[in-house]
């Protein structure tokens, strides 16, 4: 046994070491690392089942998903969660501090803030998910047309550029100025403000897909456009679109709260997190809890959606996960 044959001279048994392949326990020359001695028996890794593996690999999706599920349940089960009528006025019990009876206190009109916050989850979720869905569908249509129809591309993209140069919140505010405040109108206004971004994204994906050999092959073999779009283009836009949709959902929830907060959103009688905070605005220096509770719920919900989005992005686009 000579040291010269060993691939790692520094790991080779020292002269005089007993032959037989056991690693030398003699101290290595100074400055050189030595591999840790291998244990005789490698411990068996505890097998914890597929669920645990999934959780360990995608902690953000799981945490976000669980939080979101709680908010969903809260919205669905609102009448059974110890709430009272969220619009019931009780002028005699105005601005009570949080207590056993009024968990989150009462607002200026004596309404139970806890009930309003629980019911407010409905508005936020409805707006967030409706906008994400509608903006994705509309943006997908615009992006596909723009990406596939060459002569329309220039026109559509100039319009999209123009729309995108109006800050989205301002665009939604301007649209809300045209109509009455209602949940429907808020959804439409935020959707219009979000469409350009989806359209841009889809167009980018479509343009890069068009150059793919399999798309060219499909064109060459005489596959018709609708079939190409349906079979080759659409499936590939789904992953980035899903990720984008979660971010739109999060930003739509924030925009709804902002619109309601400045008085251009859902009507004041409807309990929404933005509305509750708008009502707490006049009293925030003395009754901070009116703003605090809806703020915590809103932030947690948006965080949950963003976590799901980040997790989806990492799962669907591993290249992005490394970078961002």
């Amino acid at each position: 046994m000579t040291a010269t044959v060993a691939p790692f001279p520094d790991r080779a048994p020292q002269a005089g070491a007993p032959p037989g392949g056991t690693l030398s326990k003699a101290s290595p020359p100074p400055g050189l690392a030595v591999a840790a001695p291998l244990p005789d028996v490698i411990p068996v890794r505890k097998h914890r089942g597929p669920v645990w593996t999934y959780v360990r690999r995608n902690p953000t999706i799981v945490v976000g998903g669980l939080l979101l599920l709680i908010v969903f349940l809260m919205a669905a089960l609102a009448p059974w969660l110890g709430t009272v009528d969220p619009t019931a006025l009780a002028p005699a019990k105005r601005t009570r501090m949080p207590s056993a009876q009024y968990w989150f206190g009462t607002d200026m009109l004596g309404r139970d803030v806890y009930s309003r916050v629980v019911y407010g989850a409905r508005v936020s979720l409805l707006v967030g998910f409706s906008v994400a869905f509608l903006a994705s569908i509309a943006g997908l249509a615009v992006g596909l047309v723009s990406g596939m129809v060459r002569w329309l591309d220039g026109i559509v993209m100039r319009v999209v550029d123009g729309m995108m140069s109006i800050p989205p919140i301002l665009l939604a505010i301007a649209l809300m100025a045209l109509t009455r405040g209602s949940v429907q109108n808020v959804i439409v206004a935020i959707t219009i403000a979000e469409i350009p971004r989806v359209a841009r994204l889809v167009r980018g994906v479509v343009l890069s897909l068009r150059e793919q050999p399999y798309v060219e092959a499909a064109v060459t073999t005489g596959t018709r456009m609708p079939a190409i779009i349906w079979r080759h283009i659409l499936p590939n836009t789904l992953a980035p679109m899903t990720v984008q949709a979660t971010y739109i959902c999060a930003s739509a929830m924030i925009t709804e709260a902002i619109l309601s907060f400045i008085g251009a959103g859902v009507p004041p009688s409807t309990p929404s997190w933005g509305n509750i905070m708008a009502e707490g605005r006049a009293l925030w220096q003395v009754k901070f809890y009116i703003i605090l509770f809806p703020a915590i719920f809103l932030s947690t919900t948006v965080l949950a959606v963003n976590l799901v989005g980040d997790g989806l992005r990492d799962a669907l686009d591993p290249r992005m996960a490394k970078d961002v």
């Binding site: 301002l170 505010i173 100025a177 902002i258």
Partner: protein
């Protein structure tokens, strides 16, 4: 180069035309007939038609849009329905607080976000990195007014370190001006910091794997110069781009921040105009903000060659 600048400037014209068309439609489709309002309750239908004709309201959409654009180009944004003042005057009175807020926020956010992003990239995968990126996700998730109220409650009401609300013009001294802007700037800057830090980290990760960074380290340069001179310089273009795009977040956030901190700026003007349905003012503000946004991004586009001399058009 000159050709590129010329083309780039010309390219903003269609963009502004689309913005103009949108903003004009806003007034065109706004509920309420101006002629009927001017004519008053006693007017007969014929009177209203006559007034509509004298105001030119009966002409086709495109003719009116052309005329309106002509006025805008000449700096006439119309007259407020509510105060009867020219919209330009109303905007002029409110410009200083908003510009102050945005500048302070911009300086603060860049000063915080870029080093955070650089450190996160340098320590990629470690606890510091996770902490910074976690903060970034929080920054995206916590709405502006929530941050605003919590900061105001803690630092102004409870601790009393800074004024609670309001605005002091810069003419009355630097500290009174700045002290009123610190909390709003931190509030407004949070999303912006999250955005810039994320992009800085991503770009820096790319740059740090380049050969010249390895060379710089190999020749014995210490971390500081490697990160902030060799690497950051080469990561500048994407970072500056996102700073420009992020201005949109800043503008949207200013509307809310000014409401929370009772700052009499353009954001507050927008909110008041919405509540009063003062369409010419809404129009003017949207137009102005969009114009600024387009201009800033144009300037950044033209600035690329300075940042990175390798870019040639």
């Amino acid at each position: 180069m000159l050709g590129y600048i010329g083309r780039r400037i010309l390219a903003t014209i269609p963009v502004m035309a689309v913005v103009g068309l949108f903003v004009f439609s806003l007034l065109y489709f706004a509920p309420g007939d101006p002629a009927a309002i001017i004519a008053g309750d006693q007017a007969s239908p014929e009177d209203i038609i006559r007034i509509r004709a004298t105001l030119g309201l009966d002409r086709p959409f495109l003719v009116r849009f052309g005329e309106w654009s002509w006025q805008i180009i000449h700096g006439d944004l119309g007259t407020s329905i509510f105060t009867n003042l020219p919209v330009t005057t109303m905007i002029g009175q409110r410009v200083q607080p908003t510009v102050s807020l945005m500048l302070v926020t911009l300086v603060f956010a860049i000063a915080v976000a870029v080093p955070l992003g650089v450190v996160a990239a340098w320590k990629a995968g470690t606890l510091i990195d996770r902490l910074v990126m976690g903060l970034a996700v929080m920054g995206f998730s916590v709405p502006v007014f929530v941050v605003g109220y919590i900061l105001a409650y803690v630092f102004a009401l409870e601790l009393g370190w800074l004024p609670v609300q309001g605005y002091t013009p810069i003419e009355q001294g630097l500290w009174p001006w700045l002290s009123n802007l610190i909390l709003p700037a931190v509030t407004l800057g949070l999303v912006y910091i999250a955005l810039i830090a994320r992009v800085t980290r991503a770009t820096m990760l790319d740059v740090l794997s380049q050969d010249y960074v390895r060379t710089a380290r190999a020749k014995g340069l210490s971390q500081g110069p490697v990160l902030f001179i060799h690497a950051l310089k080469n990561a500048a273009v994407p970072i500056v781009t996102v700073i420009g795009i992020g201005i949109a977040l800043l503008i949207g956030g200013a509307v809310v921040t000014e409401t929370v901190f009772a700052i009499p700026g353009l954001g507050r003007l927008t909110v008041d105009a919405i509540l009063r349905r003062d369409y010419p003012v809404i129009q003017g503000v949207v137009l102005l903000f969009s114009f600024v946004y387009v201009l800033v991004n144009l300037a950044i586009d033209l600035f690329y060659t300075v940042l990175d001399p390798r870019i040639r058009y």
